[in-house]
């Protein structure tokens, strides 16, 4: 048994992110919405976000709230025209290595297993 860190991470058949797309104006966003923030429409379809993207901007967090493992690279990506937030994983969080414009690919990893044996799955982006 496994569970994604958020409901917009879909694990099968291959891990990918799913956004809500307004059927009227095609605006896209993650998570449940009561109405479209752009055109106020109330019908949505699912949009499969490309699993590759380009790094628009980033930071390397060295001090964070209690319990957050540091350092880590938090980034903002462009995945096929949609802005996506996520961490850069699989490389050292080092500004000499992580650069704006770098191409990245969605990857999942285990966040651990709960008392009932369910494994939580997180996601991040690895340089291609």
């Amino acid at each position: 048994m496994s569970i994604p860190i958020v409901n917009y991470l879909v694990l099968e058949p291959q891990p990918h992110l799913v956004a809500q797309e307004c059927t009227a104006c095609k605006a896209k966003f993650f998570g449940r919405h009561n109405a479209c923030p752009k055109c106020f429409g109330v019908t949505f379809a699912e949009f499969e976000v490309p699993t590759t993207g380009v790094l628009k901007t980033f930071t390397i967090v060295h001090h964070d709230a209690k319990g957050v493992p540091v350092p880590y690279c938090a980034a903002v990506l462009d995945c096929g025209g949609m802005t996506v937030g996520g961490n850069i994983i699989g490389v050292d969080p080092d500004p000499e290595i992580i650069t704006r414009g770098m191409h990245v690919q969605l990857k999942t990893y285990s966040l651990g297993t709960d008392a009932e044996g369910v494994e939580a799955i997180g996601f991040g982006f690895e340089p291609v």
Partner: protein
Amino acid sequence: MSENVWILGIHMTPFGKRADLDVLDLAAEAALAALKDAGVTMKDMQVMGYGNLRGGTSGQSLQKQIGQTGIPSFNVSNACATGSTAMRAVIMAIKAGEADMGIAVGVEKLYGAGLLTGNSVGSGPETWTPTGRNGAIKNLDGFIGTSGMAGLFAQIGLAYNDSDPRADFELFARISEKSHSHSTLNPNAAYQNKMSLEQIMNDPMIAYPHTRSMCSANCDGAAASVIVSETKLRTLSLEQQRRAVKISASILASDPWTEASQEFADVSTVTRNAAVAAYEQAGIGPDDLDLVELHDCFAAAELVHYDNLGLCEPGGAIDFFNSGATWRDGRMPVNVSGGLQSKGHPIAATGIANIWEVATHLRGEAGPRQIQGAKAGMAHVIGLGSSCTVHILEKSGL
């Protein structure tokens, strides 16, 4: 045509560690001094705007300390723009003709509060349980990006002008070098020590490219302003009229829909919209401004707001800063107070404190840091989430 509105009195307490005072002591210190500066009393006030994010106090609790006259209090909460939003509420009441005089107060005790980060991540749950609109099974800070302010604004700065590679660590550190130099002339600043570029860059890294001295400083402080209608002002003494400061524009805006805004805080569009509206309302442009206090909560924020506020050519903020324009002896002095990184950032007080700084220069009362001959200035604040206030002030011609 609605009423013109003016600042009749205004005060900012010293920012820093005020351990001997509680939140209401600080709020009262600012409010009573602003009333004294205005030459009026609580009896003259018909409306109050009040902001205190973390102390649990209200305008009513302040009134119990300084005067219970029964006037309404708009207790507002708008992140870092709380103080200026409280002031905006008073300005609207006067413009609407419901009052001819009112007071706005912002106060915070934050000394030693630590970093402004997201919520702490507790120990793991017994079982993973999806909660909220995203069905999150844990606090996402640090797992899907960052909720920490230093990191958010780092991302905003590094994205400047389509991720211009010149927007780098050293550039942002040089912006902080300016702030820490300006604050040496400000006796009200929490940190008045000059810092070299090397010291700033070698300070502990909080969120690259922001070191500790490139982040806003948590401290205690309060600011308050007495606002008056122009009709009422003209009945007051010549000295009150001479020291009054005209509020030529008062704008409060929220972030509009943009493609990225729900994933990546957009503080730029809201600032651009507010600035355009403010220039139109004031009938003056950026070239007419003699000084600007803008919301430099982190060094990277200052760079993007040069552009957002129209202080430079579109896309030209890096060249603009490199020209020396924003130093106090430059053609467009920015944050001569030392800004939030050295003057300090007691959140709900900041929005009125920035207005106090500009007003004090326009009155010619800024002492050693006076910008000579200042006739017009702008105060800008961002509340992440995001809201923005822009006020344009002009020297009295009465």
